[in-house]
Symmetry: C2
Subunit: 299 residues, 2 copies
C-alpha cells in the first residue's frame, strides 16, 4: 500500500491542504482563505478526515507563516508567536492536529519547508548544502547544511542582513521598520513600490529599478556565499517572477566575489548556481508534504 502524507501550507492569506504520496501522486488538494484560527484549523481537519478517513495516512506536515516557536523543549513549541495578523498571535498550530489525527507531525516555517521540498523533488536534488531565498512582500531564507535545515537559536532571518547601501546612487531610506535599509528594507516588493512610486509588476523589464534590485540581491548573495558556502542558491518569490533579474544578479554576484571563491560552480557555471525553484506554485504545500515525510522517517 502506498504511504500517504498530509500537508498544510498555512499562509497569512490562504491555507492549502494536500494529501499525496509525492508530487507525482497527488490525491487531493483544497485551498481556502485564512479566517480566524479556530475556524481555519477546523476546515483543514475536516478536509483530511473526509479525504482519507484517517486510513493509510502516515504523517502530517505543517508549513506555516511566522514567527514560530520551533524549540521542542519549550512549553509553547508549535505556536505562532508575535505575528501582527489579527487573532493569530500565540496560536497553537500543532496541538489541534495532533489531537485530531495522532500522527507524527512535522512543523516548520514556510520557507524551510519549501527548501526541503526543493531538496527532495526540485532544484536542490542531490545537494548537501544550499540556500533558498524568497523575495516578495518580505525576504525569507532557508539554509540546508550537511543535509539538515539550519535552525540554531531560533531560525535564520536572512532578509535582515545588513549590506552596503550607496546613498548617492540610491537615497531611498528603506522600508524595514526595524533596520530601515537592511536587505529586506531595500529589496522587497514594497521597497520597490515605495522607491519608484509604482508596483514592480507595472515597471518595464528595462527599467533601472531592476538593475538596482539585482545589485542589492547580489550583495546579499555574496554574504550567503562567504558565510555558508552553498552548492547552489535558489531564488523564489514574487519579485523573482521578473525573470530579467536572474542574468543581472548572476553577473553582479561574480563581480562582488571578484574571483575570490575559486569554484567552477561560481566562476564558470553560474547559470546553474543561481536558479529559480522547480516546484512553482505548489512549492509551499509540497514542502509541507516533505515535512510530513521527514516526520515519518524520524518517528
Amino acid at each position: 500500500m502506498t504511504d500517504l502524507f498530509a500537508g498544510i501550507e498555512a499562509g497569512g492569506t490562504k491555507w492549502v491542504c494536500m494529501v499525496a504520496a509525492h508530487p507525482g501522486d497527488i490525491r487531493a488538494t483544497t485551498r481556502f482563505p485564512t479566517s480566524q484560527p479556530g475556524e481555519t484549523i477546523e476546515k483543514a481537519i475536516q478536509f483530511f478526515k473526509e479525504e482519507i478517513h484517517n486510513s493509510g495516512l502516515k504523517a502530517l506536515g505543517i508549513a506555516s507563516f511566522g514567527p514560530l516557536n520551533l524549540n521542542q523543549d519549550s512549553p509553547t513549541f508549535g505556536y505562532l508567536t508575535t505575528t501582527p495578523k489579527p487573532g493569530w498571535a500565540d496560536t497553537n498550530l500543532l496541538q489541534p492536529f495532533q489531537e485530531a489525527f495522532n500522527l507524527p507531525t512535522g512543523f516548520d516555517t514556510d520557507v524551510n519547508a519549501a527548501a526541503l521540498g526543493e531538496a527532495r523533488w526540485g532544484a536542490a536534488q542531490g545537494l548537501s548544502d544550499f540556500v533558498y531565498l524568497t523575495i516578495g512582500t518580505g525576504i525569507g531564507g532557508a539554509a540546508v547544511v550537511n543535509n539538515t535545515l539550519v535552525h540554531g537559536l531560533i531560525h535564520p532571518e536572512m532578509g535582515h542582513m545588513l549590506i552596503p547601501h550607496d546613498l548617492d546612487q540610491d537615497p531611498f531610506p528603506g522600508v524595514c521598520p526595524y533596520h530601515s535599509d537592511c536587505l529586506e528594507g531595500l529589496a522587497t516588493g514594497p521597497a520597490i513600490a515605495a522607491r519608484w512610486g509604482e508596483k514592480g509588476e507595472n515597471l518595464p523589464p528595462d527599467h533601472p529599478a531592476w538593475q538596482l534590485e539585482a545589485n542589492y540581491i547580489a550583495l546579499g548573495l555574496a554574504n550567503l556565499v562567504t558565510i555558508l558556502s552553498p552548492q547552489r542558491i535558489i531564488l523564489g518569490g514574487g519579485v523573482m517572477d521578473q525573470k530579467q533579474l536572474f542574468p543581472l544578479i548572476r553577473t553582479r554576484l561574480q563581480e562582488n566575489l571578484a574571483g575570490y571563491v575559486p569554484a567552477r560552480e561560481i566562476l564558470e557555471e553560474i547559470d546553474r548556481y543561481i536558479v529559480p525553484p522547480k516546484l512553482g506554485s505548489q512549492a509551499g504545500v509540497l514542502g509541507a508534504i516533505a515535512l510530513a515525510q521527514e516526520a515519518a522517517g524520524s518517528a
Copy 2:
C-alpha cells in the same frame, strides 16, 4: 589503555605538534618555524615517531593554514592550494603523514579545527550551533550547524562578507586586494594599522579606533546572526586581545539587530552570547587533536 592522538597545527609561520589524550592529558608538544614543505613535514613525522613509537596512537589531525582542498572526491584532496607562501602552493599535506603512520587522519582549516576544539573543551561545549571568528592578520570564520562543521561548496570565507561602510564617517578605502572594503578589508589588524598609521597594539584602549572597529565587527556579527542563527559567537585572534572591544561589540550588535531576533540570549544575556575562546594559545593544536578524535570516531 588511554587512547592517544596526534595533532598538528600547520601554520604559515610555525608548526605546533602535540601528542595528547585530551587537553588535561598532554604527553608531548613541540613547535618549530615553518621552513620548506619537505623539511617541515619531516620534522613533524620524526617528532611523532620519537614520542610514541607508533604504539597506542589512535588517529592524527592536521589543522592547516589555507586555502585547502577539502573535497574528498578530488584527486588533490588534502592539498594546500593557491597560497602565496613561497614553496607551499600545491603541497600535499595529507599523504606524507598517511604513508608514515597509516592512521585515520582528520584534515581541515585551522579555524574549523579551532572551532571543533572549542566545541569539545572550550566556550562552545553543549552547543549545536555556533560561530567562531578569528580577527587578526586576516578574518577567518567557522560555523557549526546541527553539531557539524559547515564546508559546503568549499569552506566559508566569512571575512569577505560585504557590510555597510559609511565613507563620511570612515573614508579609509579598505585593504582587501579583492573587495577593498569587505569586513576583512576594514577590520583586520593591517586595516587598523593602515587607517591610523599605527599598529593597534600601540593605540590606547580609549582611542576612537576601537569604537570604529567594534562597529564593523558588530555589523559582521549581525549578518552571522541573521543568516546562521547561532547559539553563541566566539571571537578570537590578535585583534580581540583588545578586551575593551567586547562590551563595545555587544552593545553595537544589540543596536544593529534592534530587537528583531526575540531571543533571551541576545536581548538579556549578551555577555554570554559574544565571548572569547577558552583554549587560548593552544586552541590551534588542540583543534588538531579534536580533528584526530573525529577521524577516529568515523573510521
